[in-house]
């Protein structure tokens, strides 16, 4: 049974249609890949699913664990178990990472998230102990932001984790760490969707399913071999 079902999703941004009928299913405990060239609508899909007010859904349905998602504001989607790791998380001055995550953890419920344990654990897992008292993303390098985003999702243990380019701008060691953490999240039951241009992160964590987005539609899907094929030959291979 898929945990997340997207059906015929159409999304407009600033009046312009970007997604034009996306169909997608994510299975619990599995890693999925969403690949596609620049401008194909990958981030739009992620932000629309998370409920960004600038992304207007004009048609289609989304179900999380059988519940309709599209009528809910962003925080209710998060509380229902869908979380997005941002491609470009904002720097929020004066807001401590620790403070923010304590709140995020408490609204998730003690059953899912016990802050006293989960926060230090997540920091250690992502090798980010020295960030515990830092302000949210403030002055983080590109790679540090990626790790911090994943750290937050790792701690909050969502049912569905959407990771928007978790691999861009990170060095080789961090890439391996990120891949390991993705695998671990999937092992504990999270359905993970990794959004990326490049297959390199999949060397460490092969996806069960690869979706290729092209001009606002899923034009191809398959097993992990599809990721390698794209890596070798580019997105042209799926164009026909």
């Amino acid at each position: 049974m898929p945990i997340l079902t997207v059906r015929d999703l159409h999304v407009r941004v600033a009046g312009k249609p970007v997604l034009q009928g996306v169909d997608l299913e994510l299975e619990p405990g599995q890693v999925h890949a969403l690949m596609g060239p620049n401008g194909s609508g990958k981030s739009t899909l992620a932000l629309a699913l998370a409920g960004h007010p600038a992304y207007e859904v004009t048609r289609g349905q989304v179900f999380l664990d059988g519940q309709d998602l599209l009528g809910s504001p962003p925080h209710e989607r998060a509380r229902a178990g869908l979380l997005l790791a941002f491609q470009y998380p904002p720097e929020v001055e004066g807001v401590r990472l620790r403070e923010f995550l304590r709140l995020a953890c408490s609204v998730r419920g003690q059953k899912f998230c016990d802050f006293q344990k989960a926060f230090p654990q997540a920091l250690t897992r992502l090798n980010m102990e020295e960030f515990r008292d830092r302000e949210l993303n403030l002055g983080f390098s590109g790679g540090e932001k990626k790790r911090a985003e994943l750290m937050q999702l790792y701690m909050l243990r969502p049912k569905v984790a959407l990771l928007d380019e978790p691999d861009s701008g990170v060095d080789v060691d961090a890439l391996r760490l990120i891949a390991e953490v993705i695998a671990e999240m999937a092992e504990t039951g999270t359905a993970v969707l990794v959004i990326t241009h490049y297959p390199r992160v999949f060397t460490h964590v092969p996806p069960a399913r690869v979706f290729v987005l092209w001009q606002g539609k899923i034009v191809e899907q398959g097993g992990s071999e599809l990721a390698w094929k794209i890596g070798e030959l580019g997105f042209e291979v799926v164009r026909k």
């Binding site: 998370a50 409920g51 960004h52 007010p53 504001p73 962003p74 925080h75 989607r77 998060a78 509380r79 979380l83 997005l84 941002f86 998380p89 904002p90 929020v92 001055e93 004066g94 807001v95 403070e99 923010f100 709140l103 995020a104 609204v107 998730r108 302000e135 949210l136 937050q152 909050l156």
Partner: protein
């Protein structure tokens, strides 16, 4: 003691002085102030004061008799002080505490070890009666000619605190005063005079509140601080007056060589506030920091500022303000730095940021930087912004509802000031902020 007709008149001022059993110099001072008050115009800048009827105020009220124990206060006022956490703070975090209701002090305490070191922490009236030398200090920093409300204060002042820290004595935990306006339509005019002798240090905290009435009331306190050579004085005010209060204060300090004076102000209440704590840097190497946080809500005009007057070489000042404006409200910040010709090597930095939470919110920042010599470093930054929708979405996408997210962002915005406010107060501030945001979002 009862003052019969508590309307503003020469007879009232004389009777007030008589009943306070004041020395002749103070009586003469009051009458001189009254004359000056009558001549001076109302302030020609800032908020609209036309609805403040100075003829319709009660200039003296004493609804509560002083007590030695909290338990002996009347039920209503005791509950108020308990809800504010005063008796608890006295036990846990304060070196001394004074509490005033309307015109007179009702309670005061000071730790025995500070009394033994010679620290004086007493009512202003008592100091005027007992120490003739107070005359050399009283309203010498802010003379009545300075402005109409300074003159009014000089004529009708009642209550407040006198603090004297002997040379070299460091008071490590704060002294606090709490001001409560209880009677409808009352004016409260407490006078605070702090003298920190050379090498001493003290942190003084003021809190204030009042129940809300329909009639306007006036709070016009005065604070004068003498920080002598190498002394350190920090003065923190958390103001949460009701929305019928005009809060028009005068606060000024003299910092001698090597001394440091810090003002920390949190303004959350009142209908109108005019507050411009000023430090005059008199001696070489003196420094001042002025941290101001204002939260202007529906119908309020918070006109605040900070002034640093550099009159000696190598003096430094840092004026920082964070304002949050919600609803139809206005905040103004006037940051003034003046560097005299003799103040070579002075450094000054003014920084003010405003966060607007509603389309109707108004703000103005009025910096005045004036240097009369070339060997100075002056810096100025000002920003005005609204809550970023991207920030809001980011926090909400992790499960925070809108009011939680907004509250976190606003708390973050004011954190450079909040972190300077003692924890017990910061908690109260945060709670007040959160309550307001919940209302705003709902």
């Amino acid at each position: 003691m009862r003052v019969s007709a508590a309307r503003l008149s020469r007879d009232f001022v004389e009777e007030l002085s008589w009943e306070k059993n004041e020395p002749a110099w103070m009586r003469a001072h009051r009458l001189r102030c009254l004359e000056i008050f009558e001549k001076l115009p109302m302030p020609r800048f800032g908020p609209d004061l036309s609805e403040l009827d100075l003829g319709d105020l009660t200039y003296y009220a004493r609804p509560v008799e002083p007590v030695r124990r909290w338990e002996d206060l009347p039920e209503e006022i005791r509950r108020t002080f308990q809800a504010l956490g005063l008796p608890e703070a006295e036990q846990k975090v304060l070196a001394g505490l004074g509490a005033q209701v309307d015109s007179e002090e009702v309670y005061r305490s000071l730790l025995a070890n500070l009394r033994a070191k010679g620290v004086i922490f007493t009512s202003m009236e008592q100091a005027v009666r007992e120490f003739p030398w107070v005359q050399e200090y009283f309203m010498k920093i802010i003379p009545p000619e300075d402005n109409k409300f300074a003159a009014l204060h000089g004529a009708v002042w009642s209550g407040g605190t006198f603090v004297w820290i002997p040379e070299g004595v460091e008071v490590e935990i704060p002294l606090q005063a709490y001001y409560r306006m209880q009677t409808e339509g009352v004016g409260q005019f407490e006078h605070t005079l702090i003298i920190a002798e050379a090498g001493s240090s003290v942190h003084y905290i003021e809190g204030c509140s009042a129940p809300r009435y329909s009639q306007m009331s006036l709070h016009s306190g005065m604070v004068e601080i003498y920080a002598k050579e190498e002394a350190r004085v920090r003065f923190t005010t958390i103001q949460n007056w009701a929305k019928n209060v005009y809060n028009l204060n005068n606060k000024r300090a003299w910092a001698y060589a090597g001394a440091r004076v810090d003002w920390v102000s949190g303004s959350l209440g009142s209908r109108v506030t005019m507050l411009y704590p000023t430090t005059v840097l008199l001696g070489k190497g003196a420094s001042t920091e002025n941290l101001s946080f204002t939260f202007a809500q529906e119908g309020m005009w918070l006109d605040t500022g900070a002034r640093a007057i550099h009159r000696a070489p190598e003096t430094t000042s840092r004026l920082v303000s964070r304002s949050v404006v919600q609803g139809r409200a206005k905040s103004v910040f006037r940051g003034t730095v003046h560097v005299a010709p003799e103040a070579r090597g002075a450094k000054a930095h003014v920084e003010c940021s405003t966060l607007l939470l509603s389309p109707e919110a108004r703000t103005e920042t009025i910096p005045v930087l004036n240097a009369e010599n070339d060997e100075v470093e002056l810096g100025h930054e000002a920003t005005v912004g609204r809550v970023s929708q991207e920030h809001l979405f980011y926090l909400m996408s992790r499960g925070l509802d809108e009011s939680q997210a907004l509250s976190l962002i606003v708390n973050g915005f004011v954190s450079p000031i909040l972190k300077e406010i003692p924890l017990e107060y910061a908690v109260e501030l945060r709670r007040l902020l959160e309550m307001s945001f919940e209302r705003a979002v709902a």
